[in-house]
């Protein structure tokens, strides 16, 4: 991989991502100031993830707002690929989605794709049940983000009650999708299994299932990590042929992990803050491993200042943990000037994470009794 190169697919993200370049490559549209204003007209305020460009790109959002303004309410759809336990990066789109749900007062469908993670696992002895187990645990983290079960419907792909309603819709998508299109969109080869070829059809279903269930065409907005865009490029081509709207998309950035240049990854445990981490683990991980934008010596730091744009702690405060614009600007300025030391910046980050996880973990335990209420019932 040459310098500056990066890869973003639903199954692989590597390199330093140039998001402007990605917008061009993927053919999406940037979230312009005009469009942000148009959102704000309806939401009253702008979520910090919009103001700060964490959500940065879209497809057909103007159309979606046209429909909304005509009284044609949309529904939200997002998902979780349950490959294991969740880290804070996984929670980003859910926190943002909850805000959208609250501000627009709309229904939300969340798909847990245990079938995907099973089919795409490199382990030939992988068991579906393992991924179903992850999905049920991940569902607790999602509920803990604060969703309202009256407006929020979980779909678990392998759950018979859900697979049953989804399979019959998925084959309608599959009939319109050739193997060669799947190869071009996802980089599949003949050595890939037939479930991998089929799978995107299942991921397409929640984008029109509410329309099927209600017997009328309902617009759909999908907030998602930008790496998932190829799935919906394919389904946006197919859905109109089945008589449904193309879903609108709102793309989020893929926030880096604690280590330099990488993402939070299960294969490098200290690269990530897991939602089940203890205070001790968080403190140790951030202190020892969070990539720092500080100078090599205290003297140099005071003299030349730090680099918040490269600092993992700052980036996480900016993207997630410090919604207050004034506060984050002050942290930025102080760290850049050298007034704030790395140790102090990390301490702010640690305190934010610990407070967040304490609240999250309590909500997560309460969620065990609520899970049934979130599972869709026909």
């Amino acid at each position: 991989m040459a310098k500056q190169e990066f890869v973003v697919t639903p199954w692989e993200v590597k390199g330093k991502i140039d998001y402007s370049k990605l917008i061009k490559e993927f053919g999406t549209a940037p979230l312009t100031p005009e469009l942000l204003k148009r959102i704000q007209k309806h939401t009253g305020e702008l979520h910090y993830m919009l103001k700060r460009g964490i959500f940065f790109s879209h497809r057909d959002l103007n159309w979606l707002l046209d429909e909304y303004e005509k009284g044609n309410k949309f529904f939200l759809y997002t998902g979780r690929g349950p490959s294991g336990k969740m880290h804070i990066g996984h929670l980003v789109p859910f926190i943002f989605t909850k805000w959208l749900q609250d501000k627009f007062g709309v229904e939300l469908w969340i798909q847990f794709t245990d079938d995907e993670k099973f089919l795409f696992s490199k382990d030939p002895e992988a068991k579906l049940e393992t991924y179903t187990g992850y999905a049920l645990e991940n569902a607790l983290d999602v509920i803990a983000a604060g969703f309202d079960h009256k407006k929020t419907h979980f779909l678990l792909d392998s759950k018979p009650e859900h697979a049953g309603i989804m399979y019959r819709e998925a084959i309608k998508v599959a009939k319109r999708l050739t193997a060669s299109t799947a190869k071009a969109a996802f980089g599949f080869e003949d050595s890939f299994n037939v479930g991998e070829f089929f799978y995107t059809s299942m991921q397409a279903v929640p984008a029109f299932l509410p329309s099927v269930l209600k017997g009328k065409n309902i617009p759909c907005l999908i907030p998602l990590g930008v790496d998932q865009d190829p799935h919906f490029r394919v389904s946006r081509d197919i859905l109109p042929k089945l008589g449904f709207y193309k879903p609108a998309l709102l793309h989020g950035k893929l926030i880096a992990g604690l280590l330099e240049g990488g993402k939070m990854s299960a294969s490098i445990p200290h690269s990530a803050i897991w939602l089940t981490d203890t205070e001790k683990e968080v403190r140790e991980k951030i202190t020892k491993h969070a990539f720092s934008g500080g100078r090599d010596t205290l003297e140099e730091h005071r003299k030349y200042g730090g680099n918040p744009d490269a600092d993992a702690s700052f980036q996480w405060l900016y993207s997630f943990f410090e919604p207050d614009d004034k506060k984050i600007q002050k942290i930025y300025a102080d760290y850049k000037s050298g007034k704030m030391l790395t140790k102090e910046l990390k301490e702010i980050f640690i305190e934010k994470v610990v407070a967040f996880l304490k609240k999250h973990q309590a909500a997560r335990e309460k969620a065990r009794n609520q899970l049934d209420k979130f599972m869709y019932r026909g």
Copy 2:
């Protein structure tokens, strides 16, 4: 297509099939006299379709009988691809399967593959619901073959309750099947849709679903048209990797239609006797269209005799409508000698068909109230 060439795949059957050659090509085993005796030991008598070689080939039947003799009972699995209404040719494997069920006293699973017929339809505007409708109508014909609902379970692939339990098992098969294996087994190309690639995984499921449901490994015997063998060649490779027995297979010949050299086909209505035909339609169709092995003139026929081996009416009496060995031998001899005229042979055929359809159609109407009882409930 050169003379003597033939094609047998799950989606195309053409030419005059050389069944001995097919056994070699497919790598199956012939049903030997020894094996027939071994069956007879358990069934008391031999079904005429076995004696007459309508079922002519197998895979692992000796193993299945070994298990049966050890007290390890098998279950039966067969299916119907609901591409439209059914003709008498479609009923052949069901009549034989019912005999197997009665003689061995075993459970039977019947899969109606509306998903398959939808996915493989050449019509881009095809609707799944059309094939589901065919399946529900075909199910009446199957019930009319006389099955006992207490031991017989229907699976309708697109029915949510059935798709739900099948999808989660199908992806376990799909994970073990590469696109390149599917291409080699079925002749798929990249222009085929991803549902076609995936589909055989659904067809594999009933071969081990009873084992999943009962939590123990149960042998499976699949009576099927030999054109369906490629599906189970693939699943026989995969099922042992999932911890299940390879299903044993019993292959039936593909009985020709009324016209010369072809099969019964919806695209040529008078090539087939439909299970919903009236007496008038049957009489007209056989009289006018059934390919005759008779001579050009009455004199020649009396002098040289007819050719029962080429005669559609005789072939159908032999394969299906005249189980009595003495009677069929006499018809054969009389027609071959010229003693029996084509008109007389056709009259025997017509009477048999009319009597059969009268009974079948009455049973078919009664079946409407029974359909629910046959549908599998978890």
